[in-house]
Amino acid sequence: MKRYGIFALILTVLMFFAGYAALFIAPDEATMHAIQRIFYFHASSGWAAMEASMIVFFANVAYLAKRDLKWDWLAISAVEVSVAFWTVMLVTGPIWAHPVWGVWWTWDWRLTLTLVIWILYLCYMVLRTLIADPERRAVFSAVFGIFVFLGVPLDYLSIRIWRTQHPQPVIFGGQNSGLDPTMAKVFFYCSGVMTLLMILLVVKRYRLERLRHDAEELRLAVEEASESAGMSRNL
């Protein structure tokens, strides 16, 4: 327990420094100025979200191979954390896009793909709430998770082709074409901190899921014991 506390404390300090670096160390962007600084958190959340999504896929496959509920707990922890980071991306994106592009949203391939993945993970979470039996929930959500993951490259391809064939919307031309060295350093630092935050959240969420499971087992054991003792006490 203490370890989490120390890790969280260190992370808080690192995160404050990330905020400072993004606001004061990174140089001013020539055309976009201050609003461009949201990029350090927007894109690094994207990294963390993608890393969490990879964990989901490996946990899904590992569960089906090993049939150990631990992998299921890891999968749902990573799904929820990745949804949190995808949401940060989807919220900070429009905040940046509105002053720069003049629109809150455009169906550019990156935005479309992010939205699609976000929706798919929401469905994954809904599926889990509708199956009561832990084993069945684990198997079915793993199967669905693998289908989702297989769909992502196809989504990427189809959206990419679709968006290059259609007329492009009003879009700011090639923003990331050359990144200033200081900007790059700040960006990688922020991505690193965000990844650590992702790991901390997944670990904490995993612990919660395990405790939930243990509590459920205890409750069932008590219920069974009281029933066999002929008691009609309602727990």
Partner: protein, 224 residues
Amino acid sequence: MTTARAAAIVFGREVRAEMRTRELLQTSIVFVIIVVTLFNFAFEPDVAEARRIGPGLIWITLLFAASLMLNPSFAKEQNNDTIYALRMAPATSFAIVLGKTLANLLFLSIIEIVLVPVFSVLYNVPVLPVLGRLVLILFLGTFGLVVVGTVFSALSAQARLRELLLPLLLLPVMIPLLTPAVEATAGLFADSPALDRTWLSMLIAFDVVFFTASWLLCDYLLEE
């Protein structure tokens, strides 16, 4: 018993059960006619617009119809407890899922035989000159749809709110099929009809990827 033989028996059983009542088919046919009509009130398209939005109309209608139609495929086994008989049958899970998939493919194709002419007449979009290529695209798209839909029907059948859950699982996973299917169909409705090979290969890729996935994962669908 070979997989092909077992799948053929499951297919025959599904079709025979449906043909006794025909309730799934008649309900779905009425459903697609309603949706096609509703689109007119929502968009009121002229002939040029109908050509533009028509492919989307056809595929959205099919996706909605499938997300409702595929639900009973496994839900009925749950209601009548016949799922136990299926599990005990001397057939692999793949044979059972394959038989059901092929039956669903047949049912959805029958819906299309009604949907396409009705759409063509109501929106003045000629389909006869491109019929062969249209059938090819419809087949490839429908195949991907029923492959994923049948697997998800097995998932949702054992959950609460299953009628609501199946569209939720199926529709977002269908996005990489919807885009190539709509765009390929749009290519056929253009002034000089052409079959876009890029979209055709995307459709085939989708079918191959998800058919393989359902083959690999179907053992997990029927277990106790």
